[in-house]
């Protein structure tokens, strides 16, 4: 997408730096003059929101680490110390714990947006796969962070999730012992989780750089899924257009975030986690954080231990293969009447699984979980089949036409998405 640079160093210092390290040129080309499709809707602001959340989590997290003690006998009390004694500790911890939830809210909107508008299709496959990797790293980070307060949910969440690996044949038990550093979840486990919880966000930041690099190389998708054909007509410069739109989305998102932090800070948590970890007693009803519930429901739906673990892992990994599962050449579901209905059904299935994941492992929940698990994977099968017989609606001839109400001449549905070779 990046054409030749339009950056003009104005002062002597800028020219001097530009000749030695063209960092200002890089920033200018990727955040000021970078062309964005002129028809982006507010769903495209979630990428910026996610960057904001990552930075917010790193800042609050580094500060919390200054007051937290990663030791099984002291961790719980040090978190209470943060809440009661540390100046603004309550605020920083609530920002961090609710920030994790808001991070996942944003990432799920971002993923569903990508699925609806076909943002995973050529030439954006690598961009999409990097996104799935970020999602996996986020899950690992969030899980380990939830263990750190060393409450009952922390302890039993850690026990259940690490035990998932024991389902693997032959090497499973050894892997679990190596994860624990002992024969059960204990102090060595807490210490290594703290270390990794600190490390992983920076790995996420690294993959985010690759994700943005890939994005800026191939250019953004847009609500029509029609590629940019004429940079002059179809795009606008990132600044001020996308910058101000991203900021608007971010501020709206922060309002919701602030409402949780200041009015319902424990809404997305569990009361049981305010009871110190007790290895002799499991809470009557253990559930993971809400953002893991759909996958937890899939795990419980399968009546076999290894099968459950594989289905849960598969539910996430299958996303990475979406570019090759979906056989349709039309990107945006706006022009795919059948696929669109399946998409919304898939959203409902995910929400349903989330609800079932929070319910006890009894009937009728188990049977419904099984049906929804089949539907979850069925969606991917459906995407593979629908593309073969579905007759898409006519695509606009260009982004500019879709916005300015151009001729809207009919295009063959397959030819409308020929790859754009932009230098």
């Amino acid at each position: 997408m990046s054409g030749h640079s339009t950056y003009q160093p104005k002062t002597g210092i800028e020219r001097w730096l530009d000749a030695r390290l063209p960092i200002v040129r890089l920033m200018h080309d990727s955040a000021v003059s970078y062309p964005v499709p002129r028809n982006l809707n507010l769903l495209w602001t979630f990428g910026g929101i996610l960057v904001f959340m990552l930075v917010a989590q790193i800042i609050t997290g580094v500060i919390l680490a200054m007051h937290y003690t990663p030791n099984a006998t002291m961790a719980f009390n040090s978190v209470e110390h943060i809440m009661r004694d540390v100046n603004f500790g309550w605020l920083l911890r609530y920002l961090h714990s609710n920030g994790a939830s808001m991070f996942f809210v944003a990432v799920y909107v971002h993923i569903f947006r990508g699925m609806y508008y076909g943002s995973y299709k050529a030439p954006r496959e690598v961009l999409w796969i990097l996104g799935v990797i970020i999602f996996l790293l986020m899950m690992a980070t969030a899980f380990m962070g939830y263990v750190l307060p060393w409450g009952q949910m922390s302890f039993w969440g850690a026990t259940v999730i690490t035990n998932l690996f024991s389902a693997l044949p032959v090497i499973g038990e050894t892997i679990v012992t190596f994860l624990w550093g002992g024969y059960s979840v204990d102090n060595p486990t807490l210490n290594r989780f703290f270390s990794l919880h600190f490390l992983l966000p920076f790995m996420i930041a690294g993959v985010v750089v690759l994700h943005i690099w890939a994005l800026h190389h191939v250019g953004q998708n847009n609500p029509t899924g029609v590629e940019v054909k004429d940079v002059k007509k179809d795009t606008v410069p990132f600044t001020p257009y996308a910058t101000i739109k991203d900021l608007f989305g971010m501020v709206c998102f922060m309002l919701v975030f602030a409402w949780f932090v200041f009015y319902q800070p424990n809404f997305m948590g569990h009361a049981d986690n305010y009871i110190p970890a007790n290895p002799a007693s499991t809470p009557a009803h253990i559930v993971p954080e809400w953002y893991f519930l759909p996958f937890y429901a899939i795990l419980r739906a399968i009546p076999d231990k290894l099968g459950g673990v594989l289905a849960m892992g598969g539910a996430i990994v299958i996303l990475a293969f979406l570019p090759w599962i979906d056989t349709s050449k039309v990107k945006s579901m706006t022009y795919r009447p059948i696929a669109r209905q399946f998409f919304w059904m898939f959203v409902l299935v995910c929400i349903g699984l989330g609800y079932l994941g929070a319910m006890p492992a009894d009937e009728p929940y188990v049977t419904i979980s099984r049906i929804l698990t089949v539907l979850y994977f069925g969606f991917f099968l459906a995407l593979a089949l629908i593309g073969i017989f579905e007759r898409p609606a006519p695509l606009p001839t260009s982004i500019a036409d879709s916005v300015l109400g151009g001729s809207g001449a009919r295009l063959g549905h397959a030819t409308a998405s020929e790859p754009q070779a932009k230098g």
């Binding site: 259940v160 999730i161 012992t177 059960s184 002799a280 007693s281």
Partner: protein, 183 residues
Amino acid sequence: MAHATDTTGTEPTRRDFLMLTTGAFGAVGAAALLVPLVGQLAPDAQVVAAGAPIELDLTPIAEGQAIKLFWRGKLIFVRNRTKKEIDEAKAVDVATLRDPQTDEQRTKAGHERYLVVYGNCTHLGCVPLGNAAGEPKGEFDGWFCPCHGSHYDSSGRIRKGPAPLNLPVPPYAFTADTKIKIG
């Protein structure tokens, strides 16, 4: 520089030899480095040392009662079973079990009253309910795991639910009529 001209032939040069041997040494060295980097994850000397055998007096455990204790950081249930529970455990057709084991294999001869098992569900490690009075014991008078709904019978064998295996029996021996040594 004189050698540069004759590298076009198929004959390996001294430079090829140096490249290969350096690469091989580097690979072996990197692999060797993995041993400490991964090995530090395993249980350390302190954790292993804490696994020394422990003695337990069974007399305070009344019939129908069960207690919990820790050995090597792992939870262990010791249950003094009622006559009914023992009979139920023995009456099961072993061939119908998911993890076939007789009650005799899971207890010590002459001490069938006492059942000693690890107290973490073999599914994902939760602590099954059924020790204290009033807790649900599942459909088979043993234990019920509240996390994912596994039922264990009065011999600690898996009967229903997602868990694949029976609650394992830790290594232990009777040192006296009502004394055991775990480990």
